[in-house]
Structures are given as structure tokens and as C-alpha cells.
Symmetry: C2
Subunit: 235 residues, 2 copies
């Protein structure tokens, strides 16, 4: 991690751990440079990265301010591994419905950017938030990237396992979503009625090397989920 990234991380942690509200004025570049014993240009870089991440905003001639990151209980669509990190205050649990190793068919090969017949973990789960049904999830992982995965691991956070045990370097993700009427099968799994509303999400996740290793189809329970997304203007 470069010096400016480390400082950005520390400023970010400071804002969160103190729950600073939106609009809170932060120290000046000069003050930060003095406190961290680095050059002003290092601070400027750190702050720029925080602006682009939506953590702060800078007002010309006026200062640096905290930007509100989230509301409690909203699933954050700006960060990669959805719930577990953005819903820290809740108990997230999972029931594994299905756990298989399959060969990629045409459709999977296309969505996962792999070869036909590559070995793939296919996992179906119901995920719960404070014991209420949050979503139905159908996930596909490349076995070439995730060599070891078990039903036991899938009962907990798979992402935490990939991060901490396999030390995978997460890169970025794309989410495509739309609103649907539930069919009978999924309605049943979510304990809702056919034709009830739902959000359907296709999520593709890449390592920092740019290789996709996972995609998931997620159907969210409309009564138990809400979402959040930040944007910056196009400059």
C-alpha cells in the first residue's frame, strides 16, 4: 500500500469510527500534512481518492467536508461484496440449498468468461438478515481460482473465506438489475406469493488481476431489503 493510500484509509477510518455526520469540516491540507508528517501533495492525493470514493467532498476556497456514506440497514451497491460488510450491524446467515461441482455449459461459460466444461462450483443459498429472508442466491465460482470450497464454508460468508483463507485479491464488480414478478418456484423459496415484486440482480466479480471468478443471480425479498448507491458527477 502506498503512503497516500494508507493515509486515505486512516482518514476514512477516522470518519467512520467517529460517525462524523455529513458536512463536518475536516482539517486543512496543511494540517493533515503536519499531522501525518508528509508532503502536501501526498495529502492532496489521499483526499482526491477519498472524493472519488464518495467519502468526502472538497469545496474550492472553503474546505474539506464529510460526505454521508450510508443509512443504516441499506445494502450498499457501491461496494463489492454486498451485505456482510455494508450490513455489519445485522446478523447475516445462510441456508445452503444446493452445493455442486458442475461443468460449464455455454451460458455459464459466457457469463463467467471461462471455457466450456471448466469445473465450476454452483451454490444455491437462502440468505437471512436477522433471521428474516433477505434473498435467494445462485452463485458460480471458477474452481481454477477457488480450488477449495465446501458446503460448510458456504453456510458462512464465502467472501470472508476467499479474502482471509484464500487471500484472493478482490478487484471490482458489475451489477445489472431489474424488477420482476416472482415465479412460483422462487416465490416459494422466499416465502412470498407468485407475482409478488422482487429485484433480480446479476453480479459479476473480478479479481484485481481483471479475471472474473464469480457471478451470482440474486433475487431480493422486497419487504426485507433496501438499497443505496452513491454517485459523483461526470467531470
Amino acid at each position: 500500500m502506498l503512503k497516500y493510500q494508507q493515509i486515505a484509509k486512516e482518514i476514512e477510518n477516522y470518519i467512520y469510527s467517529n460517525s462524523l455526520p455529513q458536512g463536518t469540516k475536516l482539517p486543512t491540507v496543511e494540517n493533515f500534512a503536519f499531522d501525518y508528517k508528509v508532503s502536501k501533495s501526498t495529502i492532496v492525493k489521499a483526499l482526491e481518492s477519498l472524493v472519488l470514493k464518495g467519502i468526502i467532498y472538497q469545496v474550492q476556497g472553503s474546505g474539506i467536508f464529510v460526505r454521508r456514506r450510508n443509512r443504516t440497514g441499506y445494502i450498499d451497491f457501491n461496494i463489492l461484496a454486498g451485505f456482510t460488510s455494508s450490513l455489519k450491524e445485522f446478523k447475516i446467515t445462510s441456508k445452503v440449498l444446493d452445493f455442486d461441482i458442475i461443468k460449464a455449459d455455454n451460458k455459464i461459460a459466457q457469463l463467467l468468461e471461462c471455457n466450456l466444461n471448466d469445473e465450476i462450483y454452483k451454490i444455491k443459498r437462502i440468505r437471512y438478515i436477522n433471521n428474516e429472508i433477505m434473498c435467494y442466491e445462485e452463485s458460480y465460482y471458477k474452481k481454477s481460482v477457488v480450488p477449495y470450497l465446501t458446503k460448510e464454508i458456504a453456510k458462512e460468508s464465502i467472501f470472508e473465506y476467499l479474502n482471509s483463507a484464500l487471500n484472493l485479491n478482490m478487484g471490482f464488480s458489475d451489477r445489472y438489475f431489474n424488477i420482476i414478478k416472482l415465479d412460483k418456484h422462487i416465490a416459494n423459496l422466499l416465502e412470498l406469493n407468485p407475482n409478488d415484486p422482487a429485484m433480480s440482480v446479476l453480479e459479476q466479480i473480478y479479481l484485481s488481476s481483471g479475471i472474473m471468478f464469480n457471478f451470482s443471480k440474486i433475487i431480493y425479498h422486497y419487504k426485507h431489503t433496501q438499497f443505496y448507491s452513491q454517485s459523483t458527477s461526470i467531470k
Copy 2:
């Protein structure tokens, strides 16, 4: 605009105007520095801002690559002024249902971060994509920030007017969204049936000064809209 921002913009435009697909390798930092006749550190800054904006990704020891930005026809939740810019290839039109100047009540004052009884433009519109209903939108603008607005202007893109005519400096926005069943009134406006599914979005938009000037409640037509959101990992 600083030199590195200008270069970032040029690289971004180059990627889009040539429709470079995801994974396309870009020139090295050295090559860019030579081409743009600037220092390597200026290029590094430009590239970092493009990484954070989700335009490219960098792989240590391997190079700089194009990141896919979008799929055609998806509403981009990473950028501020929703449709008109992310749906350039479509015809976006509006029908103004209601155009009023009102005094902020408690709820509006809270959502718009203004004082009770402040003057507010309240605009109800149906928005169309290629002549199909895209959404119902209820927008509130601070008159103190937007001194002049008319029903005529609201028939077109209000954001384009704010940008080009009023020269407002857009900053950032927050979107909160969830899935609902339509009530009779909105179903009617969207030419759908009561209890049909929909996405309900609350969008709050700030000037670059950090002052909120607009919020909107938007109900999207589930058959005519789909959405896209990018994320970077939490570093």
C-alpha cells in the same frame, strides 16, 4: 481543470469513442507520458482517477486495461443525472403533469435540507424512453438555487438546463431504493395494474459546494427499465 484531469478525460473519451471492449490493453505509463508530453507522475494521477471512476483497471506488472462501463440501455446508477447521459442512444421525453411553486413543509424541509416555508419548485412528470413509459417522477428544487424554471423547460431535460443555462456546478448524489407494489394512482399513471412491481428511488442531489438543491422520488416502470451499478473493492 488540472492537467491530469484533462488527460484523464481525454483517455476516457478515447476509450468510449473507440468502444474499446473490457480487457483491452492500453499504452504504458511511459508511452502516455511521451504522447501527452507530461511527467510520468501526471499520468499516474490521471490513471488513478480513472481506476476510481471504474473506467480502467491496473494489474501490477502487467499493464493497464479497459474496464467495461455499461451495457447499452441500462440506467447507470454510478452517475449523477440518471438517464439523459447514460441513455444517450435513446429518445428521452417528458410529459409535465404538474408544475408548482410551493412552500416547504416539514417533510420537504427535512429531505431537501432547507427551512420551513422556503420556496420550492415541485414538478411531476412522466418520462418516456423511445415513447414508452420509463418512470413517474416527483421533483423538488430549491428556488434559492434555481431562480428560474418553467413548465416549458421541464418538458425537456431539466438537468441540461441547470448545467448549461444556469451553469450550476453539480457535485454528487445519493440514491436510496427499494422494491414496491404499485398503488392504484401510480399504476394508473404508469399504465400498469395495481400491485404490479416497481422500483421506488429517492434521489438527493448536491452542488459541488455540498448544498443539496434537488430531491426526487422516482417510480420506475418494471418492464421498460433496467439498471447498472459498478463497484470497486474496499481497499
